[in-house]
Amino acid sequence: MRARALAGLSAFNAVSLALGLAFLYLPIVILVAYSFNASRLVAVWGGWSLRWYGELLHDRAMLDAAWMSLRVGVCAATAATLLGTLAAVALARGGGFLGRTLMSGMLYAPLVMPEVMTGLALLLLFVAVDAERGFWTVVIAHTTLTMCFVAVIVQSRLAGLDRSLEEAAMDLGCSPARAFAAVTLPLIAPAIAAGWMLAFTLSLDDLVIASFTTGPGSATLPIRIYSEVRLGVRPEINAICALVIVAVALLIVAASLITKFAGGSRDAAAPL
């Protein structure tokens, strides 16, 4: 298939790849390392310590924010997975239907729309209908944003599927709905799972849209972290950031294991 001479990695390629990965990972590694620094001063290495993790347990506001973010993330990711999967099925299997262009337009726009605009727009809607801002408004906002990512992942999986499998099931007497449930759904399940996890992490990550759509007293974790970060580097912040990084890393490992055991294709985990 691929000529050996071309498949080989030239020195230039290897170096650029290595530098690129170092650039991507080094700051994160440093952040995690410093979260174990016993000294309060960032410039001084005071030995390894779990002190800042202990202090986190007493930070009521931070814990509340983390709990809020987790609940928002689970609700938004679940709703987004449902809606995003439906949208992907409609686009990949629905043929040309009324509103198709509108829907694909509305699905791709939020992927790149600057967050300040999406956030402002949603807030103005919530104010106009006099909705009480807080948990549910953030869930709605995050669902809207993340369902688009789910739709893209599931849709590219559906596009890569062999449709003759569905047709065979229907030839054998399955109704379209039954064929979908028995044949298609198991095949796209890894993409749906990956979509849920991506939606969850995006929701856990979002600062701007949550800032616009939340109400007083219900700060999410990024809002809380942001207000601390503006005041400068603090070891407690390093600790909470390290915890978030570990949580997300575990999710990714889980996602790749699910994909692997389900025999999914490798692009199931590719967000775009």
Binding site: R2, A7, G8, L9, N13, S16, L17, G20, F23, L24, P27, I28, I30, L31, A43, L83, G84, L86, A87, V89, L91, R93, G94, G95, G105, L107, A109, L111, M113, P114, E115, V116, M117, L120, A121, L124, T143, M147, Q155, A159, G160, E167, P176, T201, L204, D205, L207, I225, V229, G232, V233, C241, V248, A249, L251, I252, A269, A270, P271, L272
Partner: protein, 305 residues
């Protein structure tokens, strides 16, 4: 054929819920932005007037339309602060996108030329930071770049500089943060294009006497332009409206438009002006958005993998 048609019926029904959701929570809200951008600022809660009455029938609607005020847009155009914010945003986004292409292309190229068995791992390594919190990654850079941070200490130890360099609150730090955060968005579409490329084309070029460099210039680069375009738009559009990175890493004397919008909204509580800023920003981004949608639709729905 008929079976496909039967299947498409229920599949179309699946469109209803997401279509309703997106219309309610994506399309409709932008209508409100437009409406409030045409309103007066008042000191009240919510801080704007008038509302277009939805219950008063056609006559009331017409009366309301007559009251609409383009003053916010006029003041945007007249005030240098806003104009400079837009210009700065476009300049920063263009420069960052160029940087991202320059940095992302070699990485994507290196990935695509890895032995096929190793490529999923390399792709995973590029994706993982994308899953890690955006805010946390910017914060990680503050750790590195601050006055007594790691970078300055390494530079001092190596005697590259003799006193700490100011990195934070500079454009350098902001560009670094932007390139860092958006790198996966550039690398992934580029990699997808390059990995899909038919390598036999390069062999043919080599057979016909092309050097490797010339083959790259004549074959690889033109074939990967669509990936470059997809990656560039995926970065350019959100960078124009970026808030977090310039807010945390750049200085506060010159603002990007996302920061100006944030300031008008949260600090000055001037919702009509914030909305006008958003409307103009949407107008600026409309063309890139449309091009992006075309590219994206083709790449996702093409299914030719």
């Amino acid at each position: 054929m008929t079976i496909r048609r039967i299947f498409s019926g229920p599949a179309r029904l699946a469109a209803i819920a997401p279509l309703v959701w997106l219309t309610l929570f994506f399309l409709l809200p932008f209508g409100f932005v437009l409406k409030i951008s045409l309103s007066h600022t008042v000191i009240a809660q919510p801080p704007y007037a008038p509302l277009i009455p939805l219950t008063g029938g056609f006559e009331a609607l017409r009366a309301a339309l007559a009251q609409l005020d383009l003053g916010n847009f006029a003041s945007l155009a007249a005030d240098e602060l806003y104009v400079m914010s837009y210009v700065r945003s476009l300049v920063v986004a263009s420069a960052s996108t160029a940087l991202l292409v320059a940095i992302g292309y070699p990485i994507a190229y290196g990935m695509a030329r890895l032995p096929p068995a190793r490529q999923p791992l390399a792709m995973m390594l590029v994706i993982v930071p994308f899953w890690t919190s955006f805010l946390i990654r910017i914060y990680a850079w503050i750790n590195v770049l601050q006055h007594d941070g790691l970078l300055n200490r390494v530079l001092l130890a190596l005697h590259v500089v003799d006193k700490p360099v100011v990195w934070l609150s500079t454009d350098t730090a902001m560009y670094l943060g932007i390139v860092y955060s958006y790198a996966p968005f550039m690398v992934l579409p580029l990699y997808a294009t390059l990995a899909r490329m038919d390598v036999s084309l390069l062999e043919a070029a080599a057979d016909l006497g092309c050097s490797r460099l010339k083959a790259f210039w004549l074959v690889t680069l033109p074939l990967s332009l669509r990936g470059v375009a997809a990656g560039a738009l995926l970065c350019f559009i959100p960078i124009v409206g970026e808030f977090v990175i310039p807010d945390l890493l750049a200085g506060s004397e010159r603002l990007m438009i996302g920061q100006t919008l944030w300031l008008e909204f949260f600090t000055n509580k001037d919702w009509p002006v914030a909305s006008s800023i958003a409307v103009v920003l949407l107008a600026v981004l409309l063309l890139p958005l449309l091009v992006f949608q075309r590219l994206e639709r083709r790449s996702v729905e093409g299914g030719t993998r």
